[in-house]
């Protein structure tokens, strides 16, 4: 980010990896020593941002390719699910899963990879807490499909919907089932580690991968099961450069209502609903650095059971009001509480979704 760091990379990638991995591609299929740990990177229902974040470790990607036998990573390497099926259980040392569980196919593949892997990592917000697509759990499945296939530019007078099995004139065509609720990875399989973020910051990914490599080599400790990797143990506020005066507020504002925020002072104390107080640190407080509020993409801070409840209590502590009508007026400044308090964490929260989505069973 800092402009001063800019001059270095020009020389670095050219100089550093030349010696080792430049010759790699041609040798790749045959010359790999069998002892290398196997790495799989799988994207379930995701946007691809997690994969780009991994690619953005830039020249270090060559070191990852040197340290691991990458058995599956559709982004960069050829690999086949059928090869994974043929593997022994536990043969893959570590699998990174990004994306959420949205169809029966992604659920199936995640279970397969779990069986074949020693360590399963929920990589990024979708896999660990559902992310923004988890907001779909506020709506019954039928409404989601109905909306997508009847928007105002959709020409669909017969009300056609995709079906899991369709009899075309030439034969049957199958589609994976869009499941009634979006699920997180740990709601489907046992998860060993979590790397939070939407997406995880590339520096953090590289640090986590280095720690994993050290543990595998025996030169570093193996993190205990359930650890959060690539993030801090406090809140975004702790790494935010803005000043907090423990000032009380009497109203919340929406970002478009204010021409400019003071660049030095806490955004929440200027009335902007910022998710920093409830959110795990590790990103470097990037959004507040450009006068945008923290949106909570690194998930709940250490020790927080319910993200939304923690954020609500943080807001309650800065509000200056005693009468119910004053409080109501302040809360009018948060027009979408479900989205504000569970923007990234709904699917992974205690409730997981709305009553209507739960009760509909998809119909």
């Amino acid at each position: 980010m800092s402009p001063t760091a800019r001059s270095k990379p020009a020389a670095k990638p050219a100089a550093k990896p030349t010696a080792k991995p430049a010759a790699k591609p041609a040798a790749k299929p045959t010359a790999k020593p069998a002892a290398k740990p196997k790495l799989a990177i799988f994207g379930a229902a995701s946007c691809g941002g997690c994969d780009i974040a991994i690619v953005n470790i830039h020249e270090h990607i060559l070191e990852v390719a040197a340290a691991f036998d990458i058995v599956l990573w559709p982004t960069v390497m050829d690999g086949k699910y059928s090869d994974i099926e043929a593997m022994e259980d536990g043969e893959i040392t570590i699998t990174l899963v990004s994306g959420s569980m949205r169809t029966d196919e992604t659920v199936h593949l995640s279970k397969l990879l779990r069986r074949k892997s020693k360590f399963m990592v929920a990589f990024g917000s979708c896999a660990s807490e559902g992310c923004i697509p988890g907001l779909a759990n506020l709506t019954p499945r039928k409404e989601i499909l109905d909306t997508a296939f009847s928007t105002s530019s959709t020409d669909n007078p017969d009300g056609i919907r995709p079906v899991w099995e369709f009899e075309a004139p030439e034969g049957i065509l199958h589609l994976p089932e869009f499941e009634p609720m979006l699920r997180t990875l740990d709601q489907v399989v046992d998860v060993d580690y979590t790397i939070p973020g939407c997406p995880p910051e590339s520096e953090q990914i590289w640090a986590a991968l280095q720690a994993v490599v050290a543990a595998l080599k025996g030169t570093g400790p193996l993190p205990p099961k359930g650890s959060i990797l690539g993030a801090g143990e406090s809140t975004v506020c702790d790494e935010c450069a803005r000043k907090r005066d423990v000032k009380k507020i009497d109203r919340f504002v929406r970002i478009q209502q204010v021409a400019a925020f003071d660049p030095e002072i806490c955004l929440l104390e200027q009335g902007l609903p910022c998710n920093g107080p409830a959110t795990r640190n590790g990103c470097g407080a990037l959004c507040p650095s450009v006068s945008a509020p923290c949106i909570g993409c690194y998930g709940a801070a250490e020790g927080v059971v319910d993200y939304g409840a923690r954020l609500m209590s943080a807001y309650a502590s800065v509000i200056e009001a005693t009468k119910p009508e004053e409080i109501d007026k302040i809360l009018d400044g948060i027009p979408d509480p479900a989205g504000q308090f569970y923007r990234f964490s709904l699917a992974g929260s205690l409730l997981r979704g709305s009553r209507s989505a739960w009760q509909s069973d998809g119909e």
């Binding site: 941002g49 056609i160 369709f166």
Partner: protein, 495 residues
Amino acid sequence: MERITIDPVTRLEGHGKIEIFLDPDGEVANAYFQIPELRGFERFCVGRPVEEMPTLTNRICGVCPEAHHMAAAKAADAVYHVDPPPAGKLLRELLYSAFFFTDHTTHFYALGGPDFVVGPDAPAAERNILGVIGKVGMEVGGKVIEARKRGHEVIEMIGGRKIHPASAVPGGMTQGITEEQRAEIEKFGRWAIEFGQFSLGIFDKIVLGNEAYKEMVLSDGYTHRTYYMGMVDPNNKVNFYDGQISIMSPDGERVGTYAPADYRDWIAERVEPWTYLKFPYLKKVGWKGFVDGADSGVYCATPLSRLNTADGMATPLAQAAYERFFDTLAPKPEAGGKRLVHHRLATHWARLIELLYAAERVVELAKDPDIASPNVRTVPTEKPTEGVGTVEAPRGTLTHHYWTDERGILTAVNLVVGTTNNYAPMAMSIKKAAQSLIHKGTVVHQGLLNRVEMAFRLYDPCFGCATHSLPGEMPLRVAIRNSDGEVVDVLSQNC
């Protein structure tokens, strides 16, 4: 809706699934290209405040979040009937130009380009970025890594983050840039121009300098005569951030140019029950199925489409490259008067011309006297209602359309996403590849996979926008069935 339990083995179909059916003579009767995933943004964004949309819709695609970020911010401007101040618009376009440069670099060197650079006949395991570095040397590889790195640093400088930027809001941007940052960005732009010229030089040397590759680019198997769509500025030059949408017929006639808000007069989306993705088509021509020609409403929206649709590029070096592109591939105009390139593999070349334009535009914008102004936002005063925002995503024209209540809470959302524009042309390219490589029940295995894969990659399909596969790395499973519907052969790649 019937609920089917799918057998676990047949579920291992990756994320792009192709079903090819043969007739009794063993010739291709039909081919289906299915997209097996949906996330439902158009529904779950309803109820959210409109200012959240640039943040929420970033997550449609982590490969091109900047496109959704900008389309969403423009749609939110329109909802509030607010016009951002000059610096707000310039900064958005500056971020966007840095993004186009970075994204086109990723595609040419890591995703689509390896087909050419390493060679279409090289083993699939070598047709990747590591293979490119192996072929062209670490010096070039290092340059590519530097280009992606520096591009992302500029995106982060203006947008706050390298992926999923945070700074575009209704009425403008959250904050401006400093003079120091401006100078840094200008320096990057100058470097990026050199990198763009260098990349065109590589294309010259490796593709145009090789008769076999040139022949492949010009071959019928990769040629489609469809309508083309692209955004143009008032001089009919290519623009990525703002302008009107223009439609070019396959015969070189400008069919019309319209304001983005009128998109529903021009396009509609067709639903098929065997896929989660819709098929946009030109409403005035109509849906005639998966066919070429002036009578079919199928259109294409890619770098090639944008060059075909526009009369030129707005910057000098890109304009020279544009002229050379048409002089080389389409020296004579079509009946309608415009020179057009219908050879779809030329999309890679067009992408590099756009890369150079994006770099030149970075410098132009960084030098604009208003760019470092702190006045980057107009506070809306009017009641929010409805609005459309359109940009050119690297993979095609992207439209966001929002409706809100009087508090600015979304009541409806419609999204026509970049890659989706090219869904029908891609399905056609697959069928054409199958038809030319399957005869009397005999299948040319590796040839078919290569052809299908290359046909995909030139569109740079980003099903992150619809599903989750990254551009150019569509896992494929092709099932070939006889006239009784039995699977006689299965080919797969990346899955």
